[in-house]
Symmetry: D2
């Protein structure tokens, strides 16, 4: 196993050369934790504290990336042990900053790609998984096509001209303009985008302007989030937000400054690869005690993933791994990012087996 | 008396030269009737019928312009009898089409001015009156400065692209754009115009687009009226309606075609002339039986008058003459334009005296 | 074959009893034509003329229901010939008024069900097909779950109080209220409905109020269409339209009268039945000359179908049958409802075979 | 002179009994300063510093209330000297907190009235003046009827239910509701209030909700100001803001909490009293060097005054006194409340004379 460190700041790439010629399969684990104070009473409860937004906050693996690392390490052991039988190679990617790089820095999948890991190792397909408390241990969730949303943000400042509230005509009032922009932007999804193709969500999260009841402010700022499951819809929505805000502002003499901040693309499971590997997943997960298939098709998630960057480069398959103990209602489990997030470790076997078998089976199929 | 006919289609101008040198005073009566079927039982009830919007409708002097003609004829007699004492001249204007010329034709005060009556007779001031059922016989209503509104109309067509209601993204929907324009235009008066200077009113009277529940139409048409008491506000509102509609339309990819149709300007009583002639009006009207002054300051009227065109050229004074019999509650009388509009003829004496005396006194003051 | 006529006005139900015991399969063809003047030059071009909205209009099978009848008749012949081998029975439904009953009348699938055809014949499953010019002859389109939308309409009248446009405060203006309702209703899809579950569309098709520029009207009427692919979303949207319109109207002193007119439900292909019968469809349709599967998964259609009523009662499967000659670009063919709609008759064989085989295979599977 | 102190916290009332019987005239000076750091270089520049909103700020008579006190003291001297000739009495009111009492406290005119100063001294009329840099020294500004606006504030909180921005249907979004309330409230002035009677202004000064782009907040808060020149309009607007916000909120499932905080009423100069005392003002102010009348009719001011409370109890007359040196353009002078506000002391003579003469003449007229 050849290992490179310090890629994408703290990322690690391992490369396992199989004995027989063949393509390279990439397996990925993300590694970063979250500024959440752990509240579950486990022996290995996090004791790390950090400064976050000016306050002391605990740091915990509230999204379970530690389990991803554990399972990918396990997978590396498994595959290293059988490398003589592999018709190709395995690329192990341990990636930091999936939850976002610090403000103003680059990081995550995008940075590792930028630093050339795909150019160097030339993987043919990419597999990844995410631990998920809304499924039970033993279950694997999958979906062909778009599975997680793109997540982008917008920032609109409506600039008017400050004046006294008793004489609005002496200035240019940005508050009604901002209000009409909120309304106008809400018409994009309802009117202008084909949501029978894929859904789209545009939400304002903050609106803020003015300090006193009797002073009409100079400006109003609004920020929000954009979620898509279709890359073409996504670009259309960027354009339409700009057009809508710009012209509604001009209608009353204000000026809108609109910024779109691109986040992660849509995570799309390649349909052919998904269909091809589904039998492997079914083999790995089997059936539950009631005889129901442990591999289940999950609905689209409006959350986002930077695995999407890898899946833009090569066919990708991203799956969810159940983490709530069998017998408990997974729909009521503390969700990912909660201080009560808890992982049943029995799921590790399933995850490790899934990653290993996806790699082995893929290479085997290609060797025929 | 020198008389010219057929000016402004059917208008008449009389010119009475006084014996002594001095300026010319203009007195005006409008003459036209309305397509309203008279319902008051008087011996001289109108029997004329016309076609109006495809139907037979009666024609009556529902705005009392016949009384204006009668009083100005009486005034002409009075003044002709004293012409040897007049320090100047009188110009009598009998004007058609105050209620508006037929669609597509010119008419009224604007046309008579265009045909040169002021260039020819050079009046120095203009006086006019209007009979009014909301005042009692004997009363004269006046107001310095703006007394009646300008009345203009707008016509906005929002053009989108027709499509099936089940797939709005395949077309461009003009209905939400039109809705947002209604909203945007309502912000002009509330935000952008100094209504402490003079009030302004912008109202939509009609909105119309589409024929079926499941077809998004190509366009929506909206028409409305604009009233002002300040000529600068008026021009500002024209501009702001255009800007508002144009940009709100563009915000969602539609296109607004905006037309402003100018009607009558603000009727403004010249403050100096009003102050100067107020004693004359008080002399003429005297006091009522309760000892209250018969000359009263009236609020601004949102109706409009083409006397305003004369008052744009020379200082003007336009007054209201009460027509509801003393003892009746004038605030409950059938209003002007009603089929029940009724004029107490005793008011003619007051009106005739007012017009005569305004002319005589004005010329006398100027001769000193 | 037992045949009943005059059900649901002109509908016909045939019942074929198989030799062996087993359940009943329903097969359905709709029969009605459309007020469209045929413009395709075929020997059997329609010569029928009717009065429609006061005008003479041709009547043609612009949605190809004649082909449905032809294929179901063929299917009846085929199945009658093999009735000795059938492990169960076939119910043939020839249904009128799928395109809607005349205003104020009942009709179509809903009426036939109301008249008890399912209670009498007790089908276990229902199959139907629709000829479709956007697919090529030989192709069969299918989709598991929701395949066609529900189609309902709304009718909102905003009642204010008429007044002159120059004095809006003397009345209650319904135009801005209607405008704000358009805006408010557009927020339902963008904010209040989970469109990641299934998309939803709410469109206004008509807005109409007022007749003159200077009269604020008594009321504004708006009508529109509602499309859903989820029955729970549908009920939520009905409620939300009512709440939105009612309260926005009250906000400015107007009153909204909101009516929801229920049309056809969502057409949902039972996922288990779809999965079960997909091999049959693949057998019937085979592959095209290029070796591509002739059975293709189609996107959701925002059009609606009253087959949905049957599929509410028993598991249903509704498929699309290609009608545009091989070699022509089906995406450019005259669409259903066009005066140029044209059907390649070679598709009849595929349709007849599909219906026959679905029935035979279903009964065979159940007999095991 | 009888003097009472500590009324309305630090207020003072003096009562001067004239030698002859007659009514009582009230004269008022307000006394409070403002948290503004003086920037004019005068020998008596303020050196006082206070804590204001957590910071050290200078305190200056930026609205010239010190000059009001000086002039009313002078007036007291003048009138005391002639008390033997007075046909009645003078009530001198030195009032604190015209600029507003500290948050949560009562104060100003309202408190002094509440403590019974009118019940005790029974003034028949009230006179007051305000120094004004937008007029030149020597000038007196007056206006019959409404001269200064009422100033009230509103506070609207729209309560929804927080949720993630990627799934708005899981919560209730207050931002679009707030936006529609801004729009709806702007229709009150444009549609629902008779602004030909008196203008009205409703302005939002602040809108604030949410902290992050991807979290839809629980609530949005909006505050603003309401200005009226008509007490009936004022009450109507209070009601309409409540109705508008409440119902628009309900339309999308949010809930609006609306508070109206009443400030000062409209300052209305009694028309009869104004007409009666205008000759006195003209006598006092005379003409300027160019021969122009120094008493001028001023437009309505959208600022407010708690003199209005006195003028609700008895007929009142409130005038403006020019303070910018003759020869300077008063329209460009630093306005009241500016750190550069400056008063030409020659104006004191005019102000003192005006107050004295108003009192003397009023009593004299009443004695006839």
């Amino acid at each position: 196993m050849q290992v490179e460190t310090d890629i994408g700041h703290t990322g690690v790439v391992g490369f396992l050369k199989g004995a027989k010629p063949g393509p390279t399969v990439m397996l990925r684990a993300d590694m970063d934790a979250l500024p959440v104070t752990e509240k579950v009473d486990v022996p290995f409860k996090s004791t790390i504290v950090t400064k976050y937004m000016g306050e002391d906050v605990g740091v915990m693996h509230a999204c379970g990336h530690d389990t991803h690392v554990a399972m990918l390490m396990g997978t590396a052991e498994v595959l290293a042990a059988v490398k003589n039988q592999l018709h190709g190679n395995i690329m192990f990617v341990f990636q930091p900053a999936e939850e976002g790089a610090p403000e103003g820095e680059e990081g995550g999948a995008e940075l590792m790609l930028k630093q050339g890991i795909f150019k160097k190792y030339k993987p043919e397909v990419a597999f990844g998984l995410h631990i998920m408390s809304s499924l039970n241990s033993g279950q694997i969730g999958y979906r062909s096509g778009p599975i997680m949303a793109s997540a982008d943000t917008f920032d609109i400042t409506v600039n008017g001209k400050q004046t006294h509230g008793s004489a609005p005509w002496n200035g240019v009032d940005p508050i009604p303009a901002a209000a009409q922009i909120v309304t106008g932007v809400n018409h994009i999804v309802s009117r202008q985008i084909d949501i029978t193709k894929e859904p789209a969500i545009v939400s304002f999260g903050k609106i803020d302007g003015g300090v006193r009841d009797n002073i009409i402010p100079d400006s109003v700022n609004m920020i929000g989030t954009i979620r898509n499951f279709d890359m073409d819809n996504r670009e259309q929505i960027f354009d339409k937000i700009k057009t809508t805000a710009t012209h509604i502002a001009m209608a009353s003499g204000t000026k809108a400054d609109v910024k779109i901040n691109k986040g992660y693309p849509v995570t799309i499971n390649n349909p052919a690869l998904t269909a091809q590997m589904l039998p492997t997943l079914r083999d790995v997960a089997g059936k539950d005690v009631a005889g129901k298939d442990n591999v289940i098709e999950v609905p689209k998630l409006t959350a986002s993933e930077d695995f999407s960057f890898y899946a833009q480069e090569v066919p990708g398959l991203f799956i969810f791994l159940g983490a709530t103990p069998v017998g408990q209602d997974a729909s009521k489990a503390a969700y990912n990012h909660s201080p009560y997030f808890y992982v049943d470790e029995s799921s590790f076997k399933v995850g490790t087996k899934a990653l290993s078998q996806l790699a082995v089976d893929y290479l085997a199929m290609k060797s025929k």
